[in-house]
Amino acid sequence: MTEKINRRTFLRRSTAAGLLSFLAVSGLSENAYGLSDEQEIGTVIDITKCDGCRDLEIPRCVSACRQKNKGRFPEPITDIQPYWPQKKYEDWSDKREVTNRLTPYNWNYVEHLQVDYKGKREDIYLMRRCMHCDHPTCQKLCPFSAIKKDVTGSVSINEELCLGGAKCRDVCPWGIPQRQAGVGLYLKLAPTFAGGGVMYKCDNCRDLLAKDEKPACERACPKGAILTGPKKQMKEYAQRRAEEIGGYIYGDVQNGGTSTFYISKIPFEAISEAIATDKMAQKDTGPGRPLMPERVDNYLESEKGIAGAALTAPIAGAALAAFTAYKTMKGEKVDE
């Protein structure tokens, strides 16, 4: 059977074939990366692969993050008031170009260090951002519940609700969230006396994860040093990789576990010490350049016992009351 193919039929069939192949390649019927907004996501940051984009002024992961989030960066009022009765306030709006630490305008950065290890001086490039903890103290202790943890594990700040007290930074073992004054809800309440702005930090590109897309930093990395995927797989991969190189993992147990797994062939204690030394040399005491201490306890873990007492106190109170009431009703003199 022969069929005459005219120009219109040809075009129709070509378009259909094109569409079908596009759907097959883009994998719309299933998750391209195995990411979904219903499962825990983990990130491996492999320091052994990162060269800090030495040829560039700003590493690609940092530029990508800034580019993706620029619409969310704070635009503060011009006459920002100090945090009365203090004389200071935190304003980064005239330092937006800073890319070598965490600021309200820079939610990740690459720490370049030289670490002496096994008699050799090694250059290390370390991308830092929020660790997205399993039990985030920032989220649990925010007095206004302005921090949320998604099922994916992404921890994000609600910029509309945040009053900028910076408690989240104080209770974060790494002091990650950074504050910008002169912006946010507190301006509508009592800006002189309460509140301090809005806190900003990485939200793990939760909008992209929800669309089964990878975070901007990972997509921009030319070395494959950042890898996001189902958390269990990422953790296993980090363990395998650390074994392969005889190296170390950071983030798997710290603060009771996080969803970020750094891999390094140099112990993190040495890395943390190098950051501390560098900060001291530069007299850098400001926030936004966290260390990497080996031991990070989750404080809320220590409250377990007393939390149990609080939850059983009603039973204890009721039992004693029943006993005392029974005695007094029987005429024994306990109630005078």
Binding site: H135, G256, A309, A310, A313, G317, A321, A322, D335
Partner: protein
Amino acid sequence: MSKKVLRQSRVNRFIHWGTAISIILLIISGLGQLPLYKRYNITKLPGGEWLGSFYNTLDLHYIAAVLLIFVVSFHLVYHGLRREFDILPKKGDLRESYLIIKAMLTKGEEPPADKYLAEQRVAYFFIGINVLVLIGTGMVKVIKNLNGVTLPQFIIAFSTHLHNLATVLLILGIGAHLAAFIFKANRPLLRGIFSGTVDEKYAKERHPLWYKRIKMRI
């Protein structure tokens, strides 16, 4: 020395002071969950340094909460079993409270009172409801803080906002409770909550309905 009558039993005083002490500690430590002690230089006052640690104040908040929950539960069960409901509000208490306050201000005559004045019953109800809301939402917050527990965000946010609102209302309620003693007429009651007894003359004059009942019991 004038004759005294027992007004507040040992159990009642334990409940009142247990609640009062734990609530004072809860307010101090609860305010410490906001970043205000450092900002307002309270931490620079002698002995105030510990207030600057969110974790110190959280520990104290938990301990004081255990005491409060214990006492409140004790109170509800104890007085429930004994069917002692003198302090629960009655119909018309708001109007009667107004009449009592008016009488105190104008030195007029008060309506005859039972064991508790109408405004005491109203104050109990207002403070009691807030305390129950604070305990309920506080328990949700304790559960939320347990490692491994992830509650839905709307439950966390709802309990947080309600906890904060009830705190403000409770502080106002306690302020009004203490302000009652600005009036001289109320001061004989102070003795009752400290030592348990009040002057018989006071009881007879101001709480005639209650006085009649206790005399009948004897």
